[in-house]
């Protein structure tokens, strides 16, 4: 019998009723207290989670349980605790190659003229 992974447990408890806003480092500050999602580059794992760099080159601290092993890029879905930190519900490995610049521009569009398609 395979043990249920802790990832799955967290997903089931997670409240997905709120949409998660696409953000980069700069946009994170506008959504403190709200559900956000972003793709970050792992700088170093630490005790409570990891330190990372956003697609617009800002430092973001992610708290919560991390998958192991971690790839270079991970997607974090969770609640923005402050302008520089996210409490993660779901962390997904996005691999070692990811176009950070494309994602960064998408975040700007999704919070700009095309906001109504996303939130």
């Amino acid at each position: 019998m395979k043990k249920k992974s802790p990832d799955l447990n967290r997903q089931q408890e997670m409240d997905t009723s709120n949409p998660a806003v696409l953000v980069n480092g700069d946009l994170l500050r506008s959504y403190v207290g709200r559900r956000v999602r972003t793709v970050i580059q792992v700088v170093r794992p630490d005790a409570g989670g990891l330190t990372s760099r956003s697609t617009d080159e800002q430092q973001i601290v992610v708290k919560g349980q991390m998958p192991s092993p971690l790839t270079t890029f991970v997607e974090v879905i969770g609640v923005a605790e402050s302008a520089q930190s996210i409490r993660a519900d779901i962390v997904t490995n996005f691999g070692d190659t990811f176009d950070a610049n494309n994602f960064n521009q998408l975040c700007q569009h999704a919070n700009g003229d095309f906001r109504h398609l996303f939130i």
Binding site: Q11, P19, I90, F94, N102, A110, F114, L117
Partner: protein, 267 residues
């Protein structure tokens, strides 16, 4: 074969409506965010069609995370969450291939779903043709950019239709003939832009309409650009701009010299 029958006979599961089948071919797979889908309304004439910000939508492409997988003998249902909302999906298990493809789908992974947008007792869901795990995560970025692109394209076509109408009303001396309108509606119904969409705008339309007047269309020599400038009360450089645009689009051609032009059709 890679394709199962259910990928092609979506119409029969949907109620054998020939209209639905025909429409399904018309618009292709439309990339949408789940928020856009949740805000879609039924389009007036056909119950099987949906309308997303003014454009008809039958089949959709969505990318999101899989939750709440429920397997039955005949189908698998799951919820897709793309961060903008949640959407119920249903995959019928008709062929061995359907079952094989669903075996790859697990809780919490990102998938790419193609399917037919349906409504049952007021609840929208997607009858899935194809579902596959996302392995290159740039695809997620790409999908959302495709959603934005699709939105821009459909709203641009609508805007042209709108301004087209204004031009007709605001240029009383210019008889606009059916041809131009027919051309515009073809453009929007195909939902694609075969050439420069800004092509037939105000001045271009005035020039074209003047050349299409029966007296001018019937004139073998064509109409002189000076006459166009004079009659339409427009500067010659604007006339020449329009001439070039219309010529590029094959709607007019030069006749005896580069100053005389004639419309290719009378409407």
């Amino acid at each position: 074969m890679m394709f199962s029958e259910s990928q092609f006979d979506g119409g029969s599961q949907i109620g054998n409506s020939p209209a639905a089948a025909a429409n399904r071919d018309t618009f292709g797979l439309v990339p949408l965010t789940i928020k856009q889908i949740s805000e879609a309304s039924h389009s007036g004439d056909d119950k099987s069609n949906f309308n997303v910000s003014g454009a008809d939508v039958v089949n959709v492409t969505v990318v999101g995370m899989v939750f709440n997988i429920v397997e039955r003998n005949t189908d698998v249902t799951f919820t897709l969450d793309d961060g903008t909302g949640k959407l119920d999906c249903k995959r019928w298990l008709n062929e061995p291939f359907d079952r094989l493809q669903m075996e790859e789908i697990r809780e919490g992974i990102y998938v790419h779903v193609d399917g037919h947008l349906k409504s049952f007792k007021g609840e929208k869901h997607v009858a899935v043709f194809s579902v596959r795990p996302v392995t290159n995560f740039d695809e997620i970025t790409f999908h959302f950019i495709a959603c934005i692109h699709n939105h821009m394209r459909t709203s641009k076509v609508q805007k042209i239709q709108g301004s087209d109408g204004e031009n007709i009303n605001s240029t009383p001396n210019t008889p606009i003939q059916n041809g131009t309108n027919g051309f515009m509606s073809t453009l929007s119904s195909q939902n694609s832009v075969p050439f420069n969409v800004d092509g037939v705008k105000g001045f271009d339309q005035m020039v074209l309409a003047y050349l299409q007047l029966p007296a001018n269309y019937g004139n073998e020599k064509g109409t002189h650009t000076d006459e166009l400038a004079q009659k339409l009360k427009l500067p010659l450089n604007k006339i020449m701009e329009s001439i070039r645009t219309l010529e590029d689009e094959g709607m007019i051609y030069s006749t005896i010299d580069e100053f005389h032009y004639k419309a290719t059709s009378s409407n």
